[in-house]
């Protein structure tokens, strides 16, 4: 018996595949297998003692064979799995891939960031129509009909004397006409000027801001504070400079420059060698504007910026007109 079983131990240990091992299993442990046959041979032994002895031996072999079988099976399964995986091997470097994701437009995404900053600073976001009237676009902003400052703006007019807004200030006028102070708002949106060349497009985007509170509360120092903080948020570590200027709707007024982001204020072509880039206009709201919206005993500040200007500076885009052509060559750089 031992010799016979010994043969099977060898066979189990040398089985080469899970399939052939299965065949061995049937041969050894099956109903018609070797062990079953050996158990059947027990009939010839008459005494219980002898039967018990043989049975014990057989069972020991059965356990041992089972053990070997299990070990071999696991080993073979592992090997076969390895082989199978190896057969599935791929050259991963073939699959380095460029993204197929799209992208948001750099101008709109810049506008999103600007809106995000101001709404985190508790400014309300207000929008309005592109088609406006003369009162809300000019007169209420202290720009009467013959004022030379109107030279600064070339406007698109319609046949019925309405116009395309030249700034988003009308949204602020309308807000003031419809609500009482305090006001704390920004007005982002598309605006229109009748100009189309290397540095001007007939449509572009602005964000204008307005703060109105009681008389004597709002000062130029407050205006400086928020704009300095905002500009550092948008451009990082830069210097900010205010220069007195003139706008019909603010007095005092200022233009705000940042130190040139391209040459770090050393002087280059982009900043015309001055080391500074103009980015914002601002000022204390002119009393004539409050008069037009019938606000009394108030003070306020206002500011405005061109979104394309910010986007072009932040992303170093050279050509303004290229922003309006749907050109994937430009857009895919913002994936």
């Amino acid at each position: 018996m031992v010799t016979l079983l010994k043969e099977w131990y060898e066979k189990i240990k040398e089985a080469q595949s899970v399939d052939s091992l299965e065949e061995i299993r049937i041969s050894v442990f099956g109903k018609k297998g070797v062990l079953a046959a050996e158990f059947a041979k027990m009939r010839i032994y008459t005494t219980d003692e002898e039967k018990a002895k043989i049975a014990k031996e057989l069972n020991e072999h059965k356990s041992a064979l089972m053990n070997e079988f299990t070990i071999r099976k696991i080993t073979l399964q592992t090997l076969e799995l390895q082989e199978a995986m190896k057969a599935e091997a791929i050259d991963v470097s073939l699959y380095s891939t460029s993204s197929q994701v799209g992208a948001l437009h750099p101008v709109m995404e810049t506008m999103d960031r600007i809106v995000e900053y101001f709404s985190s600073m508790n400014f309300a976001v207000k929008t309005g129509n592109m088609v406006e009237d003369d009162f809300n676009n000019f007169e209420a902003l202290n720009l009467p009909k013959y004022h030379p400052a109107r030279d600064m703006q070339d406007t698109f007019y319609f046949k019925d004397e309405l116009l395309l807004r030249t700034h988003t200030s009308p949204v602020q006028i309308r807000t003031m006409m419809n609500t009482q102070p305090p006001i704390r708002m920004i007005a982002p949106g598309a605006v229109f000027r009748r100009d189309y060349d290397l540095t001007h497009t007939p449509m572009f985007h602005q964000v204008e801001g307005l703060l109105v509170d009681e008389a004597g509360k709002v000062s130029f120092a407050n205006l400086k504070y928020i704009l300095e903080d905002f500009l550092k948020y948008m451009f990082g570590d830069i210097q900010v400079r205010f220069r007195p200027s003139f706008f019909p709707f603010t007095e005092p007024s200022a233009e705000v420059d940042i130190s040139c982001v391209f040459c770090k204020a050393k002087g280059c072509r982009v900043c015309s060698k001055t080391g500074w880039l103009e980015v914002l206009g601002c000022g204390i709201v002119d009393p004539n504007v409050f008069e037009a919206v019938k606000y009394k005993n108030v003070s306020g500040y206002a500011f405005g910026l061109g979104v394309e200007r910010f986007a072009m500076l932040i992303h170093q885009i050279g050509d303004l007109r290229s922003l309006f052509e749907g050109d994937i060559k430009l857009l895919e750089q913002f994936q």
Partner: protein, 777 residues
């Protein structure tokens, strides 16, 4: 407005101020420096005097000169036609490196030794303002022969271009800018002593009468002179070139120089123009023309005050009697008149509309001083003036006003000093409040705020410490904010689905819109002054813009174009609404190993899936578009919750050809109608669901929506979903097709048994048979 440092220095002492500091200060007070050009005459270019000048024996155009250069006399051959003995000239000596890079060496010109070069203006880097070599004179100040030009202020000057804001007409002169700098630097202007009238000369009263019909709100001042031998000096010629101005006659050039310097509008008239036949006295009439403009006239109009001078009244001679006029008209009066009646404006209108210098006497005196210095003219004594007096505007402002607006503590002493230095009359001020008398040249100062602006700009905005604003918390999240947020979310979704955000002008070409059957803005509401023909109306769809962009990208070589835009369009009544449009053209996916470098073209199913990935689930129903951009048999309306929210279609092959693009799909959706609300969770069953597949035979042209409707009407509540999984046709089916549908059934109460499923499916099959005559395969 162009100034030079040396010119400014004639009005205010800038000798200890660097150019860098000057520019910084100008910027800080609101006079923006646009550009700075420094005159840097290289070393070894010196002053010299031509002692002798002989013609070159072998060359017609050359002269052999003996030039005194201080330490010695050099022989220099010069080719200029104006070189002659006695001239003070600019000599580039041996070793000098010219701005052009040329190095001066001893040379022989046609066999004659030449040690150096007599220079023209452009050769040393100055603007080209005189033909031939420069002829120096005493107008450049004193100079020593042999000394380098760089040591002279005029030749180491800085030309600064300042961009003035529209309200600062008072700074359109050297004097005006010096005035502002006087306040900025807290130092006085130089004293300009002007010659008092010499009573020995003949009086003006015998030569000129000025009549005015009525008070016309203009100020005028007249002088008469006999012009003789006027020679413009070097410095005037140089400076006129530096400011980029040119005049035909010397007298006009000199007056222009004076205007640029003093800010006063000066004109020279032909004296005879105002004399009637055989009359010796000139009669000037100040009258109003038919448009309400104040004019200077005799029989004909000589000039329109503040607008232009007529050519017939100009001085065209070098010698003779000249009538000199200084004029002023309030800027808002002339701007208003010009806005109503658009006359052709002369070169001075830029100044008068912004407010020229009202102090006519000093301007005219400056002009006469120059004329007498550089000619042998004789000036008749006395002047004739017209114009009403002017009371300074009085504005009250308190320290509290100033501090509150600026947001800082500015001392009363500082406030008083600044305003005084600006030329304001502070005599009426008291301890507690400032009553400021604003001079006429600051017509832009009308109220308290304007005064406060003067203070803050001289103090320097950068010197004001910033202060955060304290306010009360308030919820600022309103409708417009949520609209903005919704827009942002769907734009992000479109980008993550592979589309690029495109922005187009809100303008379009009317012709194109009409060609493709889109409504356009009603004629009476149209644009009056479009900028170009291709942008002559407002867009009534986003699709034409996207097609144009697709075309452009295909031309650039892109095989796949995926664009989206969320933007405003207008209806025929010019009412604005927001749309979202997507365009997908060309290859379905990028070339890769998986598709063996031959990706398929985008198809209806792929595009619809993409759109749904962005805006959520929708139904598609067959439609005919009102425009002609769509493929007739692949056009759908997008339906959500029973409402049509947009359209989706394949582009018409002819349109694809016109735009030179491949298979293209477009959709345009009403943005407001895209669902975007908080979702409520629905109860879901914990029992297993079951699938059933059925293949039904349907006529070829039967639409799925018909079948869908019947199934929906006859489905039990256990049918939670069904969708097509296969469409099959072959010859055996003839003109019918086999459509396989998968049904998903699930109950909330129990695991469905075979019988339950069968009865649900039977109900559906019965309905399909009864209503549509459709059966199983």
């Amino acid at each position: 407005m162009i100034v030079t440092k040396s010119w400014l220095n004639e009005w205010i002492d800038l000798s200890n101020i660097t150019t860098e500091n000057l520019c910084k200060t100008l910027n800080a007070i609101g006079l923006e420096v646009d550009s700075l050009t420094s005159c840097n005459v290289p070393k070894k270019i010196i002053f010299g005097r031509v002692l002798e000048c002989k013609k070159h024996p072998d060359a017609d155009k050359l002269n052999i000169c003996q030039v005194d250069i201080g330490s010695s006399v050099r022989q220099i051959v010069c080719g200029a036609s104006n070189v002659r003995a006695g001239l003070d000239v600019v000599v580039a000596t041996i070793g000098a490196v010219m701005p052009s890079g040329l190095v001066i060496k001893p040379v022989k010109l046609r066999g004659v030794d030449s040690e150096g070069m007599i220079c023209s203006a452009s050769e040393i880097g100055l603007p080209d303002f005189c033909p031939g070599i420069m002829e120096l004179d005493s107008s450049i100040g004193s100079f020593e022969l042999g000394k380098e030009l760089r040591s002279n202020f005029i030749f180491s000057d800085d030309v600064i271009e300042i961009e003035l804001t529209a309200n600062r007409g008072d700074c359109l002169s050297i004097y005006g800018i010096a005035r502002d700098l006087s306040a900025a630097y807290d130092r006085p202007l130089r004293n300009h002593k002007r010659d008092e009238d010499d009573d020995n000369r003949k009086g003006i009263g015998r030569l000129l009468h000025v009549n005015h019909e009525k008070d016309l709100d203009v100020s005028l001042n007249y002088r008469v002179l006999e012009l003789k031998n006027l020679r413009l000096p070097f410095i005037i010629k140089l400076r006129l070139a530096q400011i980029g101005e040119d005049k035909e006659t010397d007298i006009d050039a000199l007056l222009l120089y004076t205007t640029h310097m003093s800010g006063v509008i000066l004109k020279a008239y032909n004296y005879a123009f105002f004399c009637e036949e055989n009359d010796v006295i000139a009669k000037v009439n100040l009258k109003e023309n038919e448009n309400g403009f104040a004019c200077i006239a005799s029989r004909n109009i000589a000039s329109i005050v503040g607008v232009k001078q007529e050519d017939i009244s100009r001085v065209t001679y070098d010698e003779g009697t000249i009538l000199l006029e200084a004029s002023y008209i309030p800027p808002d009066i002339i701007s208003k008149k010009m806005a109503l009646t658009k006359l052709e404006a002369g070169p001075y209108y830029y100044r008068t509309s912004r407010g020229s210098e009202p102090d006519l006497c000093s301007g005219i005196a400056d002009g006469l001083e120059l004329i007498q210095a550089y000619s042998s003219s004789s000036v008749f004594s006395g002047s004739i003036g017209v114009g009403s007096g002017y009371d300074n505007t009085l504005i009250s402002v308190t320290k509290q006003d100033v501090d509150e607006t600026i947001g800082a503590n500015i001392s009363k002493v500082t406030i008083g000093k600044i305003l005084k230095n600006l030329g304001f009359d502070m005599s009426r001020s008291s301890a507690d409040s400032f009553v400021v008398g604003v001079p006429r040249y600051r017509h832009d100062i009308k109220n308290k705020q304007d005064i406060i602006e003067e203070i803050v700009r001289i103090v320097g905005i950068d010197n004001i410490p910033s202060k955060p604003f304290v306010f009360t918390e308030e919820n600022k999240l309103e409708d417009d904010y949520f609209k903005y947020k919704k827009k942002s979310i769907f734009r992000h979704r479109a980008a993550s689905c592979g589309f690029f955000e495109s922005i187009h002008f809100v303008f379009d070409e009317k012709k194109i819109l009409q060609k493709y059957g889109f409504v356009t803005i009603k004629e009476e509401l149209e644009l009056l002054n479009p900028i170009i023909q291709t942008l002559d109306t407002l867009r009534t769809t986003l699709m034409t813009g996207l097609l144009k962009a697709a075309s452009l990208n295909v031309k650039s070589g892109y095989k796949q174009v995926k664009l989206f835009e969320v933007g405003s369009i207008f209806n025929e009544n010019r009412e604005e609404s927001l749309k979202m449009a997507m365009l997908f053209s060309g290859d379905k996916e990028k070339e890769s190993l998986q598709n063996a470098g031959k990706p398929q073209k985008v198809d209806f199913a792929t595009f619809s899936q993409k759109v749904s990935d962005i805006i959520g689930a929708f139904d598609l129903r067959e439609t005919t578009t009102t425009h002609s951009l769509s493929h007739i048999y692949q056009a759908a309306k997008i339906v959500v919750n029973g409402e049509v929210i947009g359209e989706l279609f394949r582009v018409h092959p002819e349109v694809e050809k016109e735009y030179d693009i491949d298979a293209t799909f477009i959709c345009e959706i009403d943005f407001e109608k895209i669902p975007y609300t908080l979702k409520t969770a629905k109860k879901s069953s914990k029992y297993q669901s079951s699938n059933r597949d059925l293949s039904i035979i349907i006529p070829k042209d039967m639409k799925f929506e018909t079948i869908k409707a019947v199934i929906n009407n006859n489905a039990s509540k256990e049918l939670i979903n069904f969708y097509p999984v296969d469409k099959y046709s072959d010859e055996n089916l003839g003109d019918k097709v086999s459509l396989s549908l998968r049904f998903i059934l699930q109950s909330e109460d129990k695991t469905l048994e075979e019988d339950d499923i069968t009865s649900s499916m039977d109900a559906i099959l019965n309905a399909l048979d009864k209503e549509l005559g459709i059966g199983l395969r």
